[in-house]
């Protein structure tokens, strides 16, 4: 296809160099410190108090027992880490004032999803109306990492390449071995719950931003979705920011683990960009070869598939 040839032959110049800013979003669960169960209908004052301190950096999630925080974008990992620590500390302190606890885990060990309540708000009611019980079952939390890649074609190109590493990132973050009081035998059960929703899993691969945009416009035009934010792939171009949003990971319980995972993600994108400026690409494979779900499984092993940098210059292999 001509588009492929055009894109592959494109040389990225210094002008296209991404900012590689990093922003982290985390979702937490609110628990009752006595019963350790989820608080399915927390006092709304608690959320309002968080908002007084953090403004728009704290938001609701699908279920009322969840709370989400977002750092600002930073060009240094230390700065984004410091901000994430501050956000966690603030939410934990406010929750304590209201007699609640906070856990960063992608599933609650024994809470039952059907006992949960959907958050108040147009978006959540719409979601519940559209996907019915699927939304109510979304008792799962994740960590999303945004990295600034301002050139849109480069964002699409790097999305395709870095998706090979989604399994690595997931394996470093797993925090959902239990579901509804059962040991699932997996380290990440969250993905299996999330995949009940449409437009999830591995991203589709596109040749260019315009090809991606055309597909989104078809879905919007047909009334299937209202905005690109309803595409929930494991990695996607953000619908709000000029960033590539990695969403495959469980939320890390320890903040240092979260910061390490964000570090790996931004370093991978920098490495792939650097190769791209030399007109080299990470070799692409069909997702079923390196299957992200393997990393969710009970054994921590991964297909070591060939991952050269093209025939001319074989590179390091993960």
């Amino acid at each position: 296809m001509p588009t492929r040839n055009i894109l592959l032959s494109k040389r990225w110049s210094e002008r296209d160099r991404p900012s590689f800013t990093v922003g982290i979003e985390e979702e937490y669960l609110l628990i009752d410190p006595q019963t350790r169960d989820l608080i399915s209908d927390p006092d709304p004052d608690m959320f309002e108090r968080c908002q007084e301190v953090l403004g728009e950096r704290v938001t609701h999630e699908i279920l009322r027992a969840q709370i989400e925080v977002s750092t600002r974008p930073y060009s240094s990992i230390q700065a984004v880490g410091q901000d994430l620590r501050y956000l966690r500390r603030t939410v934990i302190d406010v929750a304590r004032e209201y007699g609640m606890g906070v856990i960063a885990a992608s599933t609650h060990p024994f809470a039952q999803w059907w006992e949960q309540k959907v958050s108040v708000g147009e978006r959540y009611l719409m979601l519940e109306g559209r996907v019915q019980s699927l939304a109510r079952r979304m008792l799962i939390c994740g960590m999303h990492v945004h990295v600034g890649i301002e050139n849109r074609d480069l964002r699409i190109d790097l999305m395709g390449q870095v998706s090979y590493f989604l399994a690595h990132l997931l394996a470093l973050s797993t925090s959902s071995p239990f579901w509804g009081g059962k040991d699932t035998g997996l380290k990440c059960y969250r993905l299996y719950v999330g995949h009940g929703m449409p437009r999830t899993r591995h991203p589709e691969l596109f040749e260019s931003w315009s090809e991606y945009q055309r597909h989104i416009e078809v879905l919007i035009g047909a009334g299937v979705i209202q905005s690109p934010s309803e595409v929930w792939w494991d990695i996607r171009p953000s619908s709000n920011y000029p960033t590539l949003e990695m969403r495959v990971t469980d939320v890390c319980t320890k903040v240092d683990d979260a910061i390490a995972v964000a570090t790996v993600y931004v370093c991978l994108l920098r490495m792939l960009y650097r190769l791209r400026t030399k007109n080299q690409k990470w070799r692409s494979y069909l997702p079923f070869l390196f299957g992200g779900k393997r990393m969710a499984g009970p054994t921590v092993r991964l297909h070591r598939v060939p991952a050269g940098l093209g025939e001319a210059q074989p590179g390091p292999v993960f």
Binding site: I103, F110, L302, F318
Partner: protein, 83 residues
């Protein structure tokens, strides 16, 4: 071509650190990158949760008590090292 086989994740992590080190040095986040070695050594949260759960059951706790211990560990670790 690669090994076409399954390899232990700890090996992959060492390779990731090696390959990504030039980027981490430029970004000034070598320690943060090397922390992934700790994740493999200490286990992810999922592994730690399962350990706590099984240890509790092994010590005679009921399933309910074992799950409570898991939640306590999660709450503790969520608040750990926040400065």
């Amino acid at each position: 071509m690669g090994k076409r086989s399954l390899v232990p994740f700890s090996e992959l992590v060492e390779e990731m650190i090696e390959v990504l080190m030039p980027e981490a040095e430029e970004l000034g986040c070598v320690n943060e990158l090397q922390h992934i070695r700790q994740i493999v050594m200490n286990g992810t949260s999922a592994e730690q949760q399962v350990w706590v759960f099984r240890r509790a059951l092994h010590s005679g706790a009921t399933q309910e008590e074992a799950f409570k211990q898991v939640v306590d560990m999660l709450a503790h670790d969520t608040a750990d090292n926040l400065g």
